[in-house]
């Protein structure tokens, strides 16, 4: 490995260090060096969204980001969505609505959908469709994916209201 650089970053809340060549993508580093193969490669050119992660909260295609750019920042992948051993609402709704067939696009969709709902808890159908337009799915025709996101948004709003009332 020529020109390797040591990178210290936070992945899914945990401190992580890895060494990677300066021209290696964050996607490859996460997959091959951190072992998070939930980050999928569909194209390597930013066109499919399968490698979606958030970097300090913003949605990126990790194939278009360099591994070294993660230095000192916070990365979240699909592996970081479930908390305390429980599936995230979006994950559960994707299963309930049969929003995945082969599932290769699913991690990217989940990360992108979560980024959307964090920003806009009550998106309409068009907003969902545009927010997910950077993620390709070849199996589902997107129908059940959009339904799953709508349903998850509804549940998340309910849960939020409930916890607000409680506090």
């Amino acid at each position: 490995m020529s020109n390797a650089t040591l990178v210290s970053t936070t992945v899914n809340g945990d401190p992580v260090q890895f060494a990677c060549p300066t021209d290696e993508s964050l996607m490859t580093a996460l997959r091959n060096r951190v072992g998070l193969t939930g980050v999928k490669e569909g194209c390597g050119t930013g066109d499919c969204g399968a490698c979606s992660v958030t970097l300090d909260g913003s949605l990126v295609c990790s194939c278009l980001v360099l591994g070294v750019e993660a230095e000192g920042r916070k990365v979240t992948t699909v592996e970081g969505l479930s908390e305390n051993g429980e599936l995230h609402v979006l994950q559960q709704k994707f299963i309930d609505h049969a929003a995945l067939q082969c599932g290769i696009c699913t991690p990217g969709f989940l990360v992108a959908a979560k980024a959307l709902l964090d920003r806009n808890p009550n998106p309409n159908e068009t907003e969902i469709r545009y927010a997910l337009a950077g993620n390709l799915c070849r199996c589902t025709g997107y129908d059940k994916i959009v339904h799953a996101v709508q349903d998850a948004a509804k549940d998340m709003r309910k849960n939020n209201n409930r916890s607000k009332k409680r506090s």
Binding site: E41, Q91, I104, L110, R138, G141
Partner: protein, 755 residues
Amino acid sequence: MGHEQKYVDKKYEVVGTRFNRPDGIDKVTGKARYGADASAPGQLVGRVLRSPHAHAQIVKINTAKAEKLPGVKSIVTSADLPDLTGGDQGLADILENCLARGRALYDGHAIAAVAAVDEQTAAKALKLIEVKYKKLPHVTDVDEAMSESAPVIHDRIFTRGVEPKPSKPSNIAARTQMGYGDVDVGFAEADVIIEKTYKTEQTHQGYIEPHACLASVNPDGSAELWVTTQGHFVFRNVCASLLGLDIAKLKVTSSEIGGGFGGKTHVWGEPVALALSRKANRPVKMVMGRDEVFRGTGPTSSTSIDVKMGAKKDGTITAAVAEMRYQGGAFPGNWAMLACMTAFACYDIKNNKSVGWDVVVNRPKVAAYRAPSAPMAAFAVESTIDLLAKEVGISPIDMRLKNVAREGTQAPYGPTYGPIGIEHTLKAVKDHPHMRAKLKKNQGRGVACGFWFNIGGQTCTDLNISVDGTVNLTLGTVDVGGSRSSMAMIAAEELGIPYDQVRANIADTTSLGHNDMTEGSRGTFSSGMATIFAARDAISVLKQRAAQMWGVPEEDVIWENGQAIATGEGHGNLPALTLQEIAAKSGRTGGPIAGHNEVVADGAGMGFASHICDVEVDPETGRSSIVRYTVVQDAGKAINPDYVEGQFQGGATQGIGWALNEEYIYGDDGCLQNPGFLDYRIPVCSDLPFIDTKILEVPNPLHPYGVRGVGETSIVPPLAAVGNAIANATGVRMTHAPMSPPRVLAAIDAQENAG
């Protein structure tokens, strides 16, 4: 064992309901392991060098410099894969496609491969391999390839199916003809005749997961292959033959598969990865880039089709002829033959004739793509039927209903149909609220039908009952769309236990007998049948054990609702024994309880669909948007309606992409100009509305539950449904798919200039 295959009408407990899939959690948490997600100790990175030319002689390959690069562990060319195919031309073609032998036959054809310690070294090594090419004339267009003046790609190809046998080689691999009646008589009876020529461009299956494998060959000839495939048993057999390995010593494990749609039924890099591993004596992981997937794996045929149809004033179609030219890439295929089988299959046409021409060109070897060959033929035929309907003044649906195929109609490819669902789908379309919805300005509605067969094939299934009464169902057909869940439902149904007591797994090739590919919509059909029989096999063991536990004759035991019940004089009041109770005692009543089945499932049913499509065409740009879309299809019996709907929606969307956008664009140099998702644009979420579905169930008489395959038909109607909708929106008839904005705009302009 003589199991009853015939359909029996009954009430189901589990089948037909909606259950979550066993692989769901792994797939939403990122734990599921796909082709590129496996690793082995000491693994190398494999990369392939590909031809930059459409057609060239390989004068010399010099690997000396690359070999010297530190970290390079093996390099292979065709010399490392000697021809062991023993006169089997089909296998020889596969071998030549995996690594060029003396000639590069298309842009992207694999020439050589390296295995190195890491990605960077492998990439550097590829650049150090020196290949001296001598460019040869090329041809990529199907019509041009058929002309006298075209460069002949293989001098061993003499057109099959023509009499007398041609004296000269050509690019026409075969001529096929099907149909019956006398079309000249039929056209003489017609009041209206329409004749048109259509073209469709080449598209790719476009699965999001690129091909990937991890290969490991030992010096003693034993080997392992982890691979994303639609059929690991077939991959095993093909790879073993090409490498000269013993079949039983090659263990192939199918990974989770990130989409296939027919494209992962063929080997590409796998034999090369095995050869690299054999030479380096280390595991080799090989993952394709997206550009390699487009350039080097199998897309579908591009086509050129003439259709002529005649009808009487009352709408009766009296004659139909289709002349269909399909290119199969650089190697011969049977794609035009499939077109002949499907072109007129939805209709009862007294005089019909389909002629297919299978043609080779300098493009990648074509692979199956969901109902392969049918969508293009349907585009031509279903567009022509709309023109005919307009001419005789009947609505497109009534025109189709007037001529629809029914039970007893002879299919153009020979057999007589049993109960089929095309008429049901058309009637459902006619009654659908979608048909009455108001259209806005610049909008139009189109309807089209489609047909696909399902194949059966070889299947082998195991069912093992654990001591706690939970069940392992071991399958050999790769799960491409949720079949593990459907199979578990079927096993639960048969055994009479809850769905969550059954766990379905896909076995590797050393753990189960041979299973054919998951293709031809056969997964649920044939594996489902084997699952039913394996469960019934286990039930007979369960009954025998219960009889033993009770000390009663076996004939007096019946199986009902997950338990054994003793019937007959004297022991009618013995308490029932549940599956759990029998399983718990199995160690003392004869050992583990299992069921097994191997079957060559035949009797797969025909799948028919009718689609409704509304488009809005922007007259300024020629861009068409799908406003509303409805799929109506006969599933025979929907085991899990969620997945059936998913198949309908996914297939329709692929068809819509083909209809509007997707195409391989070749330059004059014969090289592919758009090998990426940016320029080869598949539908995205914001391109589409919700896709409405309606599942009809006309039972397949030759399946115990009435199942028909559902995976493929849904891609057949969309091209024509969209084309018919555009015609109704704009008044222009598109005859060239995809109907992309520039083509539609040009057609609108031409019409305006003419008018």
